[in-house]
């Protein structure tokens, strides 16, 4: 396993590996598959799959409870206990966490980190509550980001009074008043789009576009104590056509915390691209693993051969 030692260069003087993270969408205690939460099919027992992925060399796991209602949360807590009793790598649990108590229940059941999404957009203090109580290292902010279709995107709600308002001071569903001068990168290379790219924050499993700048929200969340960003490209999610490299790179350049890229995983090249061009610290995928299109060890071997430091088992 020490063969990776001399494979430096790609990460400079750091021995830290890029992480590969299989993600489970969980409903009623089962891992399910579906594109953008539709056509959901059973994919197996989360614990059995988790142990297979661990054996293959997964660096962490993520479990997202996609149907989390109040009753179902109990099922999730039970699942977290079962997983924690057997798994020897870190795992994150998300979905339906709207209070510090929700987060604590999952962390105490054995989750290493929790991820928050819609609830944190609605009430950003949730991030500082979790980070302040349990530490930033266990508070992951999940952002579902969608490329803004139009520079003049915010005409619908007529809320001029809120324009330019700070993300942390209050967000309503459908609020589209935030104009951001900073949520853009200039892509110096290999991109035909020679202008500013912006991304909106989606909430409620992608059903609502808040109109908020994803990048500004990310910065705000880090200031509040988020220790990692799980960044899903809504445009790429479920397409199996590669990660959104510009999105990931914009976040990685702007934020001081690790970025987990999600949405669009296709093959080893797509991971190599998101690690090098997208500067992602970690990359997450679901379908390619659940459908056994790629095994993690094979994937990591190819990433390793490209000169990127990964943990080989």
């Amino acid at each position: 396993m020490s063969s990776a030692v001399t494979k430096s260069g790609s990460v400079g003087k750091s021995g830290l590996c890029r992480r590969i993270i299989p993600c489970h969408d969980v409903a009623n205690g089962r891992t399910v598959k579906g594109i953008k939460f539709t056509e959901i099919r059973d994919a197996g027992d989360p614990l059995e799959l988790a142990l297979i992925y661990e054996e293959q060399g997964a660096d962490e796991l993520v479990f997202l409870d996609i149907t989390a209602s109040h009753e179902e949360r109990k099922t999730t807590v039970d699942l977290v206990k079962r997983v924690a009793a057997k798994l020897s790598i870190p795992f994150t649990v998300g979905g339906g966490i709207s209070t510090l108590q929700d987060a604590l229940a999952l962390l105490q059941a054995g989750a290493d980190k929790v991820s928050v999404n819609t609830s944190a957009v609605l009430r950003p203090e949730l991030i500082s509550e979790i980070a302040g109580t349990c530490g930033s290292q266990c508070c992951v902010l999940a952002i579902d980001a969608r490329k803004a279709v139009d520079e003049t995107r915010n005409s619908a709600s007529g809320n001029d009074g809120d324009a330019g308002r700070d993300v942390g001071t209050g967000i309503r569903d459908g609020h589209t008043g935030i104009r951001d001068g900073h949520a853009s990168i200039r892509d110096e290379q290999n991109n035909a789009v020679n202008g500013d790219i912006k991304w909106d924050v989606l909430t409620h499993g992608g059903r609502k576009n808040t109109g908020l700048s994803a990048l500004e929200w990310g910065k705000k969340a880090v200031a509040l104590g988020a220790g990692e960003i799980l960044l899903t490209s809504w445009d790429q999610d479920g397409t199996r056509s590669g990660f959104d490299l510009e999105l990931c790179r914009a976040f990685s350049d702007a934020l001081s915390v690790p970025i987990i890229a999600s949405g669009g995983a296709r093959d080893a090249d797509s991971f190599i691209d998101v690690f090098i061009q997208g500067k992602a610290d970690a990359a997450l995928a679901a379908t390619i693993f659940h459908d056994s299109i790629w095994s993690i060890d094979k994937l990591k071997e190819l990433i390793h051969q490209a000169g990127i430091r990964v943990r080989l088992c």
Partner: protein, 227 residues
């Protein structure tokens, strides 16, 4: 092995066989550091079928079993918790008397005299040196990094291993001889120490898959908890 093993809060010294196939022949005392952060070490011990006493007050600390001090979070908060609950001095005394000690993450950092994270909260001072913050790269460091055994431990830990780190700070021992493993995060840093009855890891062996299990199993065997 597929047996499940419920959490034990009382000391039980029955021999059982855990997931690893090793047999538990002793128990450990797990010092509470506040913040609900000792769960992952508890579950590791449960996977190994090792019983433990969850030490929350000085009377629960017998010093007759090896001590484990885990910890995630803030240096000052952990030290305040230990002092407030009257555990700091008993831990120091136990270690000075020779009780085997294992520190994990912040449980390693507080062995030293102080930390940049909490300048007004002294550490246990069992080792000379201070805890400092990373100056480059994304902080915290999160993920798997390669640890390299130092000459003093190569006979017992010959291999480099990838292990899981979550840390913004790391200790800088005054005495380099105590460093057992180093790692690189835009600078070479102390990833583990080993001196006399003290072993400590900056990373999380309990979350480091088989590599972590090997390191922990070796320590547990050394201190007579596993055979």
């Amino acid at each position: 092995m597929t047996q499940t093993h419920d959490r034990k809060t009382d000391l039980e010294t029955n021999a059982e066989t855990g997931d690893s196939g090793n047999t538990a022949t002793g128990s450990v005392e797990l010092v509470d550091v506040g913040g609900g952060n000792i769960g992952s070490v508890m579950r590791f011990l449960e996977r190994m079928a090792i019983s433990y006493r969850h030490v929350q007050s000085p009377d629960q600390l017998t010093g007759k079993s090896p001590l484990i001090l885990p910890g995630v979070g803030n240096f000052g908060a952990v030290m305040q918790h230990l002092r407030k609950n009257g555990l700091a001095d008993p831990v120091i005394q136990s270690v000075q008397k020779g009780t085997p000690f294992l520190g994990v993450c912040v449980g390693m950092q507080i062995l030293f005299e102080g930390s940049e994270e909490s300048p007004n909260e002294p550490g246990l001072g069992l080792l000379k040196g201070n805890v400092v913050k990373f100056t480059h790269g994304k902080v915290p460091q999160i993920g798997w990094n390669l640890i390299t055994p130092q000459p003093s431990v190569r006979a017992i830990y010959p291999d480099q291993e990838y292990v899981y780190f979550v840390n913004s700070y790391f200790p800088r021992p005054a005495d380099q001889e105590v460093v057992s493993f180093t790692a690189e995060y835009f600078e070479t840093f102390c990833a583990a120490v080993r001196v006399d009855n003290i072993t400590a890891f900056q990373f999380h062996p309990e979350k480091s898959a088989k590599a972590g299990e090997r390191l922990l199993t070796r320590w547990l065997k050394e201190v007579g908890v596993l055979s």
